[in-house]
């Protein structure tokens, strides 16, 4: 296949809007294709397929959201067609809708942001049902008893061996850490207040857990860094915890060419104020720090007005949310490993807190100078559903749009954030970075997010001419074009044409097989045998995700040896 004549944005390869052809064969970008297929992209915007590095799209939490929210299910209903299964849901779409809707946005890859090992089988059952896109899942480690014990004992090699085992048991891709220590404390209804607050019964602090996991992550040379949801997330004044966390790990170096730590949905961790009354943005402080610390990355966690379903392994946060908002509340504790919560809510334009939160996400993206450090997410569906990415793109590209929006919001959005004074407007290249090139780089996916030779043949073509359209003024056209890709090509196959899904191939599932020395593996195994005998409610032999649940694996090797 040859994609002819488009304006190509491929920032990873230094291509900035050049009119050039892209050839794909055997699912990969090649020098020259001879199959005779041609896609006419003349005058259109061509980018690598989008990559979402953080979304909640599969697993127990997501399904809990569906089950407790039939009122969400009735939104976004589309009947079956000859080709497509029926779609339901807006914030918690069914699996088919997840795949179709990503593809329609020109996205070809998305990672589920949190799976507990014990419930990973479920996560993979859902990932298997999501059509078209490639996917993976980040495994939760921040409250696991074995992790807490290894950290307490200062045994990093054993910790690395456990991570290796946990990734393999969960068929997971990387190390996700959510409110480290807080999830364990929630086992008895408690929480941790900051990075130096000891975890009850385990004699470790969040600081030690984060440092330990980061070091072990680097020992294993994993493709992705630790992916951190900070302590005190969602609370006024938490930017101090966030900055303290980053300062606590400045001395740790990455063992691969990538960030050493990814702080996720930073919008929820960049709050000032002593309470909700004097709640304000501290995004400038966070962005300043990132501007002088290139080893860290983050994603926006942009808020979208309207319905959202918050779901996170930060269970104490969710209980607080539910009581505050008098909302439905689901909680799910996972023995020895994690806890999580799900709370539906509505973000209102006239709600002062929500309006400020909305501004914070944009501030973070626009004030952080290097677009490779801050990627676009809505922390789907926590900040809002991913189908709103075109809206976020338009906001990032147009100050005029931001001003229009600000005018419709509670006035505190302007007073308690720096957004009104921010002039920066992202260009096409920036957008290509924050929506595909950087997420792929941050996740450590060398064949994603770019169109160089050997890259996956994943391409998004948008019906927009970047040379004659001013995104600052014509932001509604930008939004429209990104909402319905003219073509989405996945592995060399046209899956979307004119915004409609036309093919539904099965995507692959990435997971990391990280090797460790046998003696370390044996030490961990002995610990685990004891844990299963005494504490787990299932047998060890039934724990690991069987191969039957990952039918199209893409195994990435890493490890000590």
């Amino acid at each position: 296949m040859i994609i002819k004549g488009g304006f190509v944005y491929d920032p990873a390869n230094g291509v900035y809007g050049e009119e050039m052809d892209i050839s794909i064969e055997g699912g990969k970008v090649v020098e020259e294709s001879r199959d005779g297929k041609e896609i006419d992209a003349l005058g259109m915007l061509v980018m690598p397929g989008g990559v979402d590095a953080h979304a909640h799209i599969a697993g127990a939490k997501v399904n809990c959201g569906r089950i407790m929210r039939p009122e969400d299910g009735r939104r976004g209903i589309e009947p079956k067609t000859k080709l497509l299964r029926p779609q339901t849901g807006y914030t918690v779409p069914n699996c088919y809708a997840v795949g179709y809707r990503y593809a329609r946005l020109g996205y070809t890859c998305a990672f589920e942001a949190a799976t507990p090992i014990l419930e990973s089988r479920h996560t993979h059952e859902e990932l298997e049902e999501i059509p078209i896109i490639d996917k993976g899942a980040l495994t939760l480690f921040g409250n696991n008893w074995e992790v807490l014990e290894c950290v307490r004992d200062g045994d990093l090699d054993k910790l690395a061996a456990f991570i290796s085992w946990g990734l393999s048991a969960s068929r997971g891709y990387g190390v996700k850490v959510v409110n480290p220590g807080g999830g364990e404390a929630w086992g008895f209804g408690g929480n941790v207040k900051g990075i130096d607050d000891p975890v009850p019964n385990f004699g470790v602090t969040p600081r030690e857990i984060i440092r330990g996991l980061m070091k072990a992550n680097e020992i294993l040379r994993l493709p992705h860094s630790v992916h951190l949801h900070t302590n005190n997330l969602g609370k006024p004044g938490n930017y101090e915890t966030t900055l303290a966390t980053l300062k606590a790990v400045e001395d740790i170096a990455a063992t691969r060419d990538r960030q050493v730590l990814h702080v996720t949905h930073m919008q929820f961790s960049a709050y000032g104020g002593t309470g909700w009354r004097d709640f304000e943005s501290k995004a400038p402080e966070i962005a300043d720090y990132f501007n002088s610390h290139a080893q860290f990355t983050m994603d926006m966690g942009q808020l979208i007005f309207g319905s959202a379903t918050t779901m996170t392994a930060d269970a104490p946060l969710e209980y607080g949310n539910a009581r505050l908002l008098h909302a439905k509340w689901s909680n799910h504790d996972i023995e020895l490993e994690e806890s999580s919560g799900v709370v539906p809510l509505v973000y209102g334009r006239k709600m002062p807190i929500n309006a400020i939160q909305w501004a914070i996400g944009l501030e973070l993206a626009l004030l952080t100078k290097n677009p490779w450090q801050v990627i676009m997410t809505t922390d789907h569906p926590n900040g809002g559903p991913f189908v709103n990415y075109p809206e976020v793109i338009a906001l990032l590209m147009s100050r005029a749009k931001r001003e229009e929006e600000l005018a419709s919001l509670h006035e505190l959005a302007s007073k308690r954030s720096s957004l009104p004074s921010i002039e920066r407007e992202m260009d096409w290249n920036d957008i290509a970075i924050v929506t595909r090139a950087a997420p792929a780089k941050i996740l450590g996916l060398p064949e994603k997010g770019h169109l160089g030779l050997g890259a996956d043949g994943d391409v998004a073509i948008y019906d927009i001419n970047p040379t004659d359209l001013d995104p600052s003024k014509d932001h509604s056209k930008v939004k429209e074009a990104f909402a319905k890709a003219k073509y989405t090509i996945k592995g060399g196959e046209v899956v979307v044409r004119d915004g409609e899904v036309v093919a539904v191939p099965q995507g692959r599932t990435y997971w990391v097989d990280a090797s460790v020395p046998e003696d370390q593996a044996a030490k961990v195994k002995a610990d685990l045998v004891e844990k299963f005998a005494k504490y787990y409610s299932i047998q060890m032999s039934n724990y690991m995700v069987q191969d039957a649940y990952v039918t199209h694996p893409r195994v990435v090797k890493a490890g000590v040896i």
């Binding site: 399904n63 569906r66 209903i77 008895f188 019964n201």
Partner: protein
């Protein structure tokens, strides 16, 4: 040969430590399972061959003929009902949902006659739950409400709840309090530290009174609530608040009684309230080993956990309108396929009358009263014994069921796929 760590295909406990002794591909012994599980794994009388009803009598036929008949019945129906799914694996559920989409039918699970009301309650309030191991390791208080695990989930107390031990519960039963709330003194109640006898149909009022007392508004509660002395309620509320980790485990006593899903709704609120004081979780004691699995699969496939109507091509969900009992009681279903369940026994007699007048297809390893009403009977392999696949435990944990011995019968999944293929072919002919 001993097969280790086999999962038990009986109740929602989904015990995964069963040892099955196999000789010459026959099961000769079962260890560790309870009476219910052993009985299932050791096996019962089977339906030997596919059958179709001819002149009022079921006569043996081929699988091909049975599939063809089934496909024609489903394809010809305006409101086919695809019901059951509790005693089969999730792989079957996926195929079943696809078939329901294909024939524009209504698909529903046995949840609608057990914990369907619990799910509707969750839709109102959410569910503050946990895995069973969390209860085992932490709970110092277990409340069984309208649940009788001694009869329905025999190993539950030992493995997961009142009598289990774990990290923070090394003393097991001695370190725990057990409260039972029920309308009769069950075997479970006899093992309780506190038994609260309530009258049938008064759960909602009793829970409201407990919520008042928990919130320190007990002075406004009358001296007796539905016949229960306030002092007893104060004692129960006191034990709940004093617990470090409490677990409210409820059964059909709550969902089958007057108030139905509102009882559950109120209980979920009670647990949410209690979390303002201590840690509390709540769980439905699911009956069949994979009735929870259907809810999970249906939710991710269709957005809704049960009672999904595909008549108009898009899922529509409304138990009370689209549940199996509704369709049959109102006699609006014009064909029914029953998979891995026995509605003829388990539905009210007057509802079963709605089955008697329409073509019924049964897919099941065993003969039962549904067979007596069936027009097509397709015997299948027993999941978890003769076929592998996924099942969800009552706490939502998914596990892989093992295949222990070979079977001469096709699996449920294969059967549904065969029917699906034929339905599609019929569609192409039209």
């Amino acid at each position: 040969m001993i097969v280790e760590d086999v999962l038990c295909p009986f109740c929602g406990c989904l015990c995964d430590d069963i040892k099955v002794e196999v000789e010459d591909d026959k099961i000769v012994g079962v260890k560790r399972a309870c009476r219910l599980g052993s009985s299932k794994i050791l096996g019962h009388e089977r339906t030997k061959a596919p059958m179709v009803r001819v002149d009022g009598e079921l006569v043996e036929t081929t699988y091909e003929e049975a599939y063809d008949r089934t496909a024609r019945i489903l394809k010809g129906a305006k409101r086919p009902l695809l019901y059951g799914w509790c005693s089969t694996v999730c792989e079957t559920h996926k195929k079943g949902i696809l078939l329901a989409e294909e024939v524009g039918g209504v698909i529903d699970s046995t949840a609608t006659v057990c914990h369907g009301p619990s799910i509707i309650g969750i839709e109102e309030k959410g569910l503050a739950g946990s895995t069973l191991g969390q209860i085992k390791n932490r709970a110092d208080l277990i409340v069984f409400w309208g649940a009788n695990p001694a009869e329905a989930h025999p190993r539950h107390t030992m493995r997961y709840s009142s009598n289990s031990s774990g990290m923070f519960t090394p003393e097991g039963r001695r370190g725990r309090k057990v409260i039972v709330v029920d309308v009769r003194e069950t075997r479970t109640a006899k093992n309780a530290d506190k038994f609260l006898l309530i009258r049938p149909g008064t759960d909602y009022e009793v829970i409201s009174a407990l919520r008042m007392i928990v919130a320190d508004k007990g002075d406004l509660v009358p001296d007796y609530v539905a016949g229960v002395a306030k002092a007893d309620l104060e004692e129960v509320a006191g034990i709940m608040k004093a617990a470090k980790f409490g677990a409210l485990l409820f059964g059909l006593g709550m969902t089958h009684s007057r108030g139905r899903y509102k009882n559950v709704d109120n209980a979920l609120s009670l647990v949410a309230d209690l979390n303002g004081f201590t840690k509390f979780v709540v769980m439905a004691m699911r009956g069949h080993y994979n009735v929870a699995g259907f809810g999970q699969v249906s939710a991710w496939e269709t957005g809704f956990p049960m009672s999904v109507d595909f008549s108009r091509g898009a899922p529509y969900f409304n138990p009370g309108e689209t549940a199996a009992c509704d369709l049959l009681a109102r006699k609006e279903a014009d064909a029914m396929m029953v998979v891995a369940a026995d509605p003829a026994s388990n539905f009210p007699r007057m509802t079963v009358e709605g089955m008697a007048e329409i073509p019924v297809i049964q897919i099941d390893p065993f003969p039962n009263p549904t067979t007596l009403l069936a027009d097509v009977v397709i015997p299948s392999a027993v999941c978890g014994v003769e076929a592998e696949g996924t099942a969800y435990r009552m706490d939502g944990l998914s596990l892989r069921m093992k295949k222990v011995v070979d079977s001469p019968y096709p699996t449920d999944e294969e059967i549904i796929q065969n029917i699906l293929d034929r339905v599609r072919r019929l569609g192409d002919d039209n």
